[in-house]
């Protein structure tokens, strides 16, 4: 049987200490996500959506429980290995685009490859190619401040895609965009994901965005439910 499981979460708990108070962000989460899935994650603010995304993105580790990524136990990975994993396998897309304001679109895309062993000349080529794919070839040498919100998010998508990751983790990717742009961005994400057989996990408040996914998760008070 072909191995298809990307993520396997077993009994994952995440507890934050906020002063003397403990906040239970995730409670006993069991979750299996396969390659190529398109999943939406919804839920009220503070329910644990972001925490789940951070654990999936190897930015944070569970307090208890076990996370496997591509069959590898993340608990047993060093922080260096986790960093490498982020550099090579995980693409992040943020609500605020999080582009580096001092760099051009092209350079912002290259930043993602700067964390890998890709040679400088190849970085330029690959970044330019991905920018062309997201329709921004003519904007490659503009600063983020010279781009519209939709264009900035396209740059961010290009940055996430350029490393050819296994998964795209999008945190409210359309939260700052108007409806028309939102649909364009979602279409772009979905095409990119299906063309490259990527797992696409989208955290959103927007039910229209959530509706586009094939599998729906809801997190409330740290408890994950399939919808």
């Amino acid at each position: 049987m072909e191995y298809t499981t990307l993520y396997k979460l077993v009994g994952v708990n995440k507890v934050f200490k906020q002063g003397s108070k403990e906040v239970h962000a995730l409670r006993n989460v069991d979750l299996t996500i396969s390659f190529g899935e398109h999943i939406s994650v919804q839920g009220p603010t503070g329910g644990g959506k972001s925490t789940l995304l951070q654990i999936l993105g190897a930015l944070d580790v569970p307090s208890t429980g076990n996370v496997e990524f591509s069959g590898r136990d993340m608990e047993k990975m060093s922080s260096r290995e986790l960093t490498e994993m982020r550099a090579e396998k995980i693409g992040f897309i943020f609500q605020n685009y999080n582009l580096i304001p001092t760099m051009t679109a092209q350079e912002n895309v290259e930043v993602a490859l700067a964390a890998t062993n890709v040679a400088a000349s190849q970085r330029r080529e690959r970044a330019a190619a991905v920018l062309a794919k997201v329709g921004l070839a003519d904007r490659a040498h503009h600063l983020p401040s010279e781009l519209s919100g939709g264009q900035q998010q396209r740059v961010a998508i290009a940055r996430a895609m350029v490393k050819e990751p296994a998964v795209l983790l999008a945190d409210e990717p359309t939260g700052n965009l108007d409806e028309e742009t939102r649909d364009e961005i979602m279409e772009l994400l979905e095409t990119q994901a299906s063309e490259n057989n990527l797992t696409l996990i989208v955290v959103t408040h927007d039910s229209a965005v959530a509706a586009r996914a094939k599998r729906h998760l809801n997190i409330k008070d740290g408890v994950v439910r399939e919808v």
């Binding site: 960093t83 550099a87 943020f94 580096i100 350079e107 993602a112 700067a114 964390a115 890998t116």
Partner: protein
Amino acid sequence: MFLTYLRRELLNRRRQTIIVSLGLAIGIALVTTVSAVSNGVKDSQSQVLHSLYGVGTDISITQQAAPGDGPPRFAFGNGDAQQSGSGVRTLNRSNLRTERGATTFDDATVAKVKAVTGVAGVATALKLTNTSFSGTLPDFMQRRFENRGDGNVNGGDQNIGGIQNGQNSPAMGSIATASTVVSPTTSTTFVPTGGADGKGGTEFSITSFSVLGISGSKADVGPMSSVTLTSGRLLTSADAGKYNVVLDSTYATTEKLKVSSKVTIGSKDFTVVGLVSPTSGASETGSNTYIPIDVARTLANVDSGVTNIYVKATNGDAVKSTSSAIAAVLPDATISTSADLASAVSGSLSTASDLLSSFGKWLSVIVLVVAFAMAMLFTMGGVSRRTREFGTLKALGWKSNKIVRQVMAESVVQGVIGGLIGSIIGFGAVAIVNAVAPTLQATSGGFGGFGGGGGGGRFGGGNFTPPDMPGGAVNPLRAARIGANTFDVVLNSSITPKTLMMAIGLAVLGGILAGAAGGMRAARLRPAESLRSVA
């Protein structure tokens, strides 16, 4: 990516770059300037020392002052005054003697010094001061007679320029003293009320200049090692016994003397054979006049010996041990090394030196600390503002040390920019200081009062009864300076390559400190937390 990112950050966050760089630049500029000026002052000090003690002199030996040696006295006998027909007597006397308090070393002592291990060369000199009295006194006999007559007589024969009238008219008088102050002749003018009762009606001048008795040839140590001949010739051994004198060129200029002029020293007429100027940048040489040492001894009634021994050590590093060795041989002598001599120099030069070494140094340190602290705070602030940026980079898989390196590089470049700007400002400031060319005065080797303190000079002796002059007729401050050597040195500072390197080094250090502070903060950011600031 490293360079692209660096360039982008520095250029596109220009305000941050400018603030941090300028902050460091100001600190560096101050340090550079203070250090350059302080080097300049040090140079000036060594110039003064060279002029005083010779370039090659490592150790200077003088005998400790003998007690009970009074101020110069002029003894005028009955026949000393020349009487003119118009009711005044003219008195002239030139007196050559060793400086107050100085006693001499005999030849055996000099030989002992020569024998001390570590002594490479010895030069000797007899330091003397020539004091001349020149003035007119009322002829009391005639005055009395005339007062009985019409009561108002004009004094006519003035060889100095004062006009002396009858008892109610003011008379001019002056006391002129000359030391090696820039303008060696300074006058204190007072207006005594002349009269036949002996209250004033007198005018006279007292001039004084320094005389150094030297042995003929030019040596590599001692006072003649630091002079350059400007005209005429130097004294040679052939001048022994002859009334020939070499003048300091500045002194010659102020006294309007030139080669072949006549100078009265110790009541003898000397012929000027040469003029000398200091080799270094100081304005004057160590003495106003230089005469053959045997002539000096004869005129000053010194049987033999010298007042000053100048020693050159075989090894510059051994000055201290050589000086101790000499001290063992000459327990009573005052032995000064060049370092001691530097501390003996007073005046605005030494004030400037003290100011720079204390205030200037602390000011630089404080400004530098403030600049460093500011750079660190701004860099840390910058990192805080870029929390999301660094969080994103970490999410993209950038290693912490890659981010730290980036922050560090930004700060170091800011430091280098600051160092360069600071150096340029420093060069400018030093150029301004040099353009202003402050003249610093150094006083060295001053002796006590001349003719007493605040009470005004009383010159006793012979049949010269001093007029009842108002107190303070002789400016006691001026008088006290007679015998001291005062030099004017124009401060010339320059930024040495060493200073420049130090400045840039400090700036880079500032950058590294700032980068370390910012980098540490950036490294501590947990990626998840840095992303949380998104919301």
